[in-house]
């Protein structure tokens, strides 16, 4: 019984680093978010330009396709994160 308790404590301390937040990861996510916002802003800018008649339609189509790709990626990643969070919430304690 004693030995089991010790090994459980050891397992717990071994698992701690896996669940502590990583400093680098947050910087990485920040970069991704900034890139996302940048692409979105560029798409909007090109759309505005082409409505005034400034940009050529190819640039518009390209920028919008890029934006669509980025938004879809962001939505897919967000859904995955929310799903993982809900999975944790459903965990029997």
């Amino acid at each position: 019984m004693d030995i089991k308790a010790i090994s459980a404590a050891q397992k717990y301390s071994a698992a701690i680093p896996a669940v502590t937040p990583d400093e680098n990861a947050s910087a990485f996510m920040k970069d991704i978010a900034l890139d996302f916002a940048d692409t979105l802003a560029r798409g909007e800018h090109t759309a505005k330009d082409s409505m005034i008649g400034d940009a050529d339609p190819h640039a518009l189509v390209q920028a919008l396709a890029q934006t669509e790709l980025v938004v879809e990626t962001a939505v897919a990643v967000r859904n995955k994160v929310v799903e993982a969070y809900q999975e944790i919430l459903r965990m029997p304690v």
Partner: protein
């Protein structure tokens, strides 16, 4: 930048180049009856790219076709010389139309690549949705 967005960049540079070519072709066709007009020739070249940057295409400098101008006989024309002839343009409508068809085909090929890239990237994202 991912390979998908690079592929999109290259495809849209191809689209732009073909549109530019079509523009010069239509200039040639609309000036077919202009006296002394020399048809414009568009050349394609790879845009300067460094390292891993995609090799985009662009249209180079426009050249004028130096072949002989067509002689048109019309003594009543203000430009006519002593023999009653004046220099027409050297535009051959048949060549221009064939060139336009080729531009259309290349444009379609680039469009197809654009579509293909989008399809592949959204297929990849579909994996995440499951």
């Amino acid at each position: 930048m991912s390979d998908f967005s690079k592929a999109l960049d290259v495809s849209s540079s191809g689209l732009r180049a073909q549109a530019n070519r079509l523009r010069h072709l239509s200039e040639n066709i609309s000036n077919a009856d202009t006296p002394g007009y020399r048809r414009k020739l568009v050349s394609f070249q790879t845009a300067f790219s460094l390292g891993d940057a995609p090799a985009e295409v662009k249209t180079g400098r426009v050249h004028l076709d130096q072949s002989e101008l067509e002689k048109v006989y019309d003594p009543a024309h203000p430009l006519a010389d002593d023999t009653g002839q004046y220099d027409g343009s050297n535009v051959n409508l048949l060549i221009e139309l064939a060139d336009a068809k080729e531009a259309q085909r290349s444009y379609e090929a680039n469009l197809k690549m654009f579509e293909q890239t989008r399809k592949m990237s959204s297929g990849l994202l579909d994996l995440l949705r499951r």
